[in-house]
């Protein structure tokens, strides 16, 4: 019982302190990640249109990196 409590406390505190691991990419090192070319859907209107072109002709749906809207196409 006490061991369980100790483990839970350990896990909780480790969790809150990020397992004692610091974020390994600092905010001031995000230059490349913030570049718009790193976003495959940087132009949302175009990305969601191409996603729509594929989805209406295939059975596969969901888990796209583009957020969906509704479509009532036959």
């Amino acid at each position: 019982m006490k061991a369980m409590l100790a483990i839970i406390v350990c896990v909780l505190t480790l969790g809150m302190t990020g397992c004692g691991i610091q974020p390994w990419v600092k905010p001031y090192e995000r230059q490349n990640l913030a570049d718009p070319i790193m976003n495959p859907n940087r132009d949302g209107v175009s990305a969601s249109y191409i996603h729509h072109v594929h989805e209406t002709r295939e059975s596969s749906r969901g888990a796209g990196s583009v957020s969906g809207g509704g479509c009532g196409c036959n």
Binding site: K2, A3, L5, A6, I7, V9, C10, T13, L14, T17, C19, G20, Q22, K26, P27, Y28, E29, R30, Q31, A34, D35
Partner: protein, 163 residues
């Protein structure tokens, strides 16, 4: 019993491994960097003035929003013994130089391509603003920028220049 002791020690050890966050009241770590104009600027040499240290990057949206507002503050309060150090954290500062050609600021811009100052100030958000009093102590820390923050900065600067 023993397990609890080990657990407590483990927790204390892990929390201790954290780099200490920037604390209000601590002495501001010294910054010695060259400015965009080529001059060498040192924070210690600005003792006696209220200094707002702002860590920014050209790729950071909120940083760009904040820039003209910092320029306004600089123009307004610099006669009262206030200055701003805009520390650019980009490893490649060509974009920062291009940005500053379009948006002119008159306060010193320091270049920290090796992130020496960023590490000393434990920059955990972009932008990070630390306001240092005339005795070189950190009095206020702001992480990030949202519209309205500049009003808080002005209040804090006014308070510190009176000292």
């Amino acid at each position: 019993m023993n397990i609890i002791r080990i657990a407590t020690f483990g927790i204390l050890l892990f929390t201790g491994l954290h780099a200490s966050a920037l604390e209000v009241g601590q002495a501001a770590p010294d910054i010695a960097l060259s400015s965009i104009d080529g001059k060498n600027i040192r924070l210690k040499e600005l003792r006696g003035q209220v200094v707002l240290v702002n860590f920014w990057a050209s790729w950071c949206g909120p940083c760009r929003q904040e820039m003209p507002l910092l320029e306004d503050m600089y123009k307004k309060y610099s006669k009262l013994g206030f200055t701003i150090l805009g520390v650019n954290v980009e490893q490649d500062n060509s974009k920062a130089k291009a940005y500053l050609r379009d948006v002119t600021v008159t306060f010193p811009i320091l270049l920290d391509p090796q992130n020496i100052a960023s590490k000393l100030y434990n920059v955990e958000a972009m932008p990070t603003t630390a306001i240092v009093d005339r005795n070189g102590k950190i009095r206020y820390v702001h992480l990030g920028y949202k519209a309205g923050y500049e009003e808080t900065y002005k209040k804090q600067i006014k308070e510190l220049v009176k000292e």
